[in-house]
């Protein structure tokens, strides 16, 4: 009897954590093939945690409000990019530059998030596909603004930013002036040799920032609005009956997420050092969501733990697979395709598992009824 329960527990644990488990196995298999040193990997992973965790954290709040994975975080990324474009054009550098970029991005992100939230309220029950389409639609608007509006309509005249033809932003912008300015502001090097080569860089300020956001999210869960969001996420009708303003709460969840995503994008870009004006944002949503899901989150439940576990696992895969592919088959491209496949596959798997699980829970009540009848028959 006892063993039975145990095996059931194990099965439950496996089926609830199938995605992270697959990833751990995958990374463990790729690690020896890729042949990277643990030190190199650790350094890379830390860099990437610093780069991405803000973005991934921004996804938590809409999940809390029951709106699923916010594919519309791309909108926040766009806002962040616009902020970065401005400060590069004005040549405002370093941490003040990034701060200014964040300040510029905020109202844009609020506006975009508000639009997205309103739209999602009109498409209840299919928020995810709608937020996904919003990100495509807004991508068009973003390109219109950046490619044709910047220069003649929005006064930006920096040669560094604007194309030689006089309007439109360049394809890639070098962010030398703000590159790693947060990371390098205060960082510690571990395990480096005497010459300061190799080793692991620990950027203290970035860590503080990310820790701060985690604290904000934890605090947020404890506020009235956080409680309202959890309520709305569970049952909109009950929440409405209790007098919670459901629509407003949902819009707020998206706005907050979009604003955080904008800040996340500013941090991400400063870490990357280059801005791909027309590409950087478009895949950010997909990768962030994949990373979160890899960490064991689902459409309706996600925690800070999932974020960090997810980033670590996802990026291990990201770094390892091209090299493993190269060493194994002689083509790095296979590894690259593989990681694209895995990113998409993970989202598909997580979505399907979530749907099936919800369905199974619904079917449970019939089972209990049949059971009670059987017991009655026996009695």
């Amino acid at each position: 009897m006892k063993r039975e329960i145990n095996s059931k527990d194990v099965r439950n644990f496996l089926s609830n954590n199938i995605v992270p488990i697959i990833f751990i196995v995958l990374c463990a298999a790729c690690f020896p093939v890729a042949g990277y040193s643990p030190e190199y990997l650790a350094d890379q992973i830390i860099t990437r945690i610093m780069r991405n965790s803000f973005l991934v954290l921004s996804l938590l709040i809409p999940i809390m409000a029951g709106m699923g994975l916010n594919f519309g975080m791309t909108l926040g990324a766009m806002a962040g990019q616009i902020g970065i474009i401005f400060i590069t054009a004005w040549n405002v550098v370093g941490i003040p530059g990034l701060l200014l970029a964040a300040i510029i991005a905020t109202p844009i992100a609020v506006l975009l998030g508000w639009f997205c939230g309103k739209m999602l309220n009109m498409a209840r029950g299919r928020e995810m596909i709608t937020s996904y389409m919003i990100s495509f639609f807004m991508n068009g608007v973003y390109q219109l603004v950046v490619l044709y509006g910047m220069g003649p309509v929005i006064p930006i005249h920096s040669d560094q930013v604007i194309l030689p033809r006089g309007y439109g932003v360049r394809n890639t912008i070098d962010l030398l002036n703000v590159r790693k300015s947060i990371d390098n502001f205060w960082s510690i090097k571990l395990f480096a040799d005497e010459n300061g080569v190799g080793g692991i860089n620990i950027p203290i300020l970035t860590i503080i920032l990310i820790a701060l956001l985690c604290v904000v999210i934890i605090w947020f869960r404890k506020t009235k609005i956080g409680q309202d969001m959890r309520a709305v996420g569970q049952d909109m009708e009950v929440a409405r009956e209790a007098g919670i303003k459901v629509e407003r709460t949902r819009v707020l969840a998206i706005v907050i997420s979009t604003v955080f995503a904008a800040y996340g994008m500013v941090i991400y870009l400063s870490n990357m050092g280059t801005l791909n004006t027309y590409n950087s944002h478009s895949q950010i949503g997909m990768f962030s969501i994949a990373a979160l899901l890899v960490g064991g989150a689902s459409v309706s439940k996600a925690s800070i733990k999932n974020v960090f576990l997810g980033i670590v696992l996802f990026h291990l895969m990201f770094i390892l697979t091209p090299q493993a592919g190269k060493n194994l088959i002689g083509q790095a491209q296979i590894g690259e395709f593989f990681r694209v496949f895995v990113s998409y596959g993970v989202i598909t798997l997580a979505l399907v598992l979530y749907e099936i699980r919800t369905r199974r829970e619904k079917a449970e009540s019939a089972k209990t009824l049949a059971l009670s009848q059987m017991q009655e028959a026996q009695a």
Binding site: W219, T223, K224, Q227, R230, A231, A242, S365, A366, E376
Partner: protein, 535 residues
């Protein structure tokens, strides 16, 4: 209890209400003193919920032209415009359906959207919702409410993990925790509870009453009324038929008052007792159905050839679950035998293949293709099940819909059932409720079934259409010898139409009587086992 000379807490004077000219409440008068427990009994549609809607100032009432008469609280007339208004005067209600969040604890649910907050500086910028929730205070207030109710309830338990009874207690505690609650309306709070839980609840009601909180207790379990109430109001057809002292009445008296009406049915419509064949067409054994809100637990039933069998009972007791379960629309188990051969459950196709048909109570959800034409609606099942209305082309290689055949049959039923429509091409969603119901019937008739389930055929349609629908059913039964099982909440309707009537209580058959039996007998069956004991 409240023999002081103070003004009664609640008084209703000549309250009346009409919906589109149909009176649903007539001249209702009663008073309720502080700390009194008032039992409110009556069949479905007797006007109980309308009365409560008026008390709470629900939107339905305002939107349909308000009400007549006066509602007085502490002797002063009030007109609430919303339940929030009522709440301010200390009146709260616990509804039959739980309004709880499964992922929250009891405490969180009790104080939902009224959580005590720690003021934070940030609220100056981000508004009040940036205040953090004071968990300790929340816990304290929740426990206070639970203690006031006098039940055992763990404030930290998640609602999802609670037994039903605790959910009910959580609901009630929520109402109590609202400040200055003086009158609590409980709508069938014990319907979903086990006996033990129900006892606890009754104890809690006495507790509240002792603390000076008045309670209006709506229930179908009459024994509970005797146990806990000071007085009882019996409603029927929108009137208070009698106000009884709970100490001096009995279950059978209440049951009689509830259903016993002198309806002057025209002779032509009256069902004369006719001989019914002994041949059993359909037998149902140990049927259970998982239909939310209409759970069937253990039904055993035999339907005789050529009869109209009525299935009645109060809402939520499971009568609707029976046809839905047999026809495979909800998960079901048990044994169903039609003409000697067993019908597999959970398989709508098999039922239809063996010449069963079903007119669902959920016209818009199950009964109709709202976006399609009447032709489609009427011909569709017959086409799919019996390959009717198909025309072979290319030497039988492909079979297309036979548009002219479909039109012919649709027109036939439009005429026969007097369906009001512009043409057979009109979309089903554009018809009125009564005509939609006729389309549903036509759909079933087109299948030419041997046995027809009709669920709530007259729900939500006007009187004229009602009579027509019932007449059509009766004629169908007489002229084609089709056995009909008719499920309805309206006992009178069943008595007009049926040969025998089965009453469902608590997911099981509590008795089957000939339609000519006096209505009190049905009333007693409806209120369940406790009634049987009382007899």
């Amino acid at each position: 209890m409240s023999s002081e000379m103070t003004k009664p807490l609640l008084e209703m004077k000549n309250v009346s209400k009409e919906y589109n000219g149909n009176p649903v409440l007539k001249d209702v008068n009663f008073t309720l003193g502080q700390g009194e427990v008032l039992g409110l009994v009556g069949e479905n549609g007797a006007g109980k919920s309308t009365l409560m809607n008026i008390l709470f100032g629900m939107d339905v009432i305002h939107q349909t032209g308000g009400y007549g008469g006066k509602v007085l609280i502490d002797g002063k007339e009030v007109k609430f415009t919303s339940p929030l208004d009522a709440l301010k005067s200390g009146i709260g209600m616990v509804h039959q359906e739980f309004s709880l969040l499964p992922g929250f604890t009891a405490a969180e649910n009790i104080l939902l959207n009224r959580e005590p907050q720690n003021r934070s500086v940030l609220s100056l910028v981000f508004g009040d919702r940036a205040n953090t929730i004071d968990r300790k205070e929340l816990q304290k207030q929740a426990i206070a409410a639970i203690t006031k109710l006098g039940v055992e309830l763990d404030p930290d338990m998640l609602v999802a993990e609670m037994p039903v009874g605790h959910k009910q207690f959580t609901e009630i505690s929520r109402e109590i925790s609202k400040s200055a609650i003086r009158l609590l309306v409980l709508d069938e709070p014990t319907a979903v509870l086990t006996e033990k839980e129900a006892e606890m609840l009754l104890k809690a009601i006495r507790n509240l009453s002792a603390q000076g909180i008045s309670v209006i207790f709506i229930t179908h379990r009459l024994q509970e009324i005797l146990d806990v109430c000071n007085k009882v109001i019996v409603m029927r057809d929108g009137r208070i038929v009698n106000e009884l002292d709970a100490a001096k009445t009995s279950i059978s008296e209440m049951a009689k008052l509830m259903v016993g009406r002198e309806v002057a049915t025209p002779d032509s419509e009256k069902q004369e007792a006719r001989p019914i064949s002994d041949k059993v067409v359909l037998s149902v054994k140990n049927l259970w159905v998982d239909m939310p809100g209409e759970t069937v637990r253990d039904v055993n039933l035999e339907v005789h050839d050529g009869e109209i069998l009525g299935i009645g009972g109060l809402a939520g007791q499971g009568k609707l679950g029976i046809p839905n379960g047999i026809m495979g629309l909800f998960p079901a188990g048990g044994k169903v035998v039609l003409n000697g051969s067993e019908i597999p459950l959970n398989n709508p196709r098999a039922c239809l293949d063996s010449s069963l048909a079903f007119v669902s109570e959920d016209r818009r959800g199950v009964g109709l293709l709202l976006d399609e034409s009447l032709e489609w609606n009427i011909a569709f099942p017959a086409m799919q099940i019996q390959n009717k209305f198909l025309k072979p082309y290319l030497g039988g290689l492909v079979k297309w819909r036979d548009q002219s055949g479909i039109k012919k049959v649709t027109d036939k039923y439009i005429e026969q059932l007097q369906i009001k429509c512009t043409s057979s091409k009109q979309k089903a969603k554009e018809l009125s409720g009564g005509n939609q119901q006729k389309v549903c019937l036509a759909k079933a008739f087109a299948l030419e079934p041997k046995l027809l389930f009709v669920s709530e055929p007259t729900r939500g349609i006007d009187i004229g259409a009602k009579a027509l629908v019932l007449k059509a059913l009766r004629e169908y039964n007489r002229n084609f010898g089709v056995t009909i099982v008719m499920i309805s909440s309206e006992l009178e309707e069943l008595r007009q139409c049926c040969d025998r009537i089965a009453i469902i209580t608590d997911g099981a058959v509590s008795g089957i009587l000939p339609a000519s039996s006096p209505s009190e007998d049905f009333g007693i069956l409806m209120v369940g086992k406790t009634a049987k004991e009382a007899m």
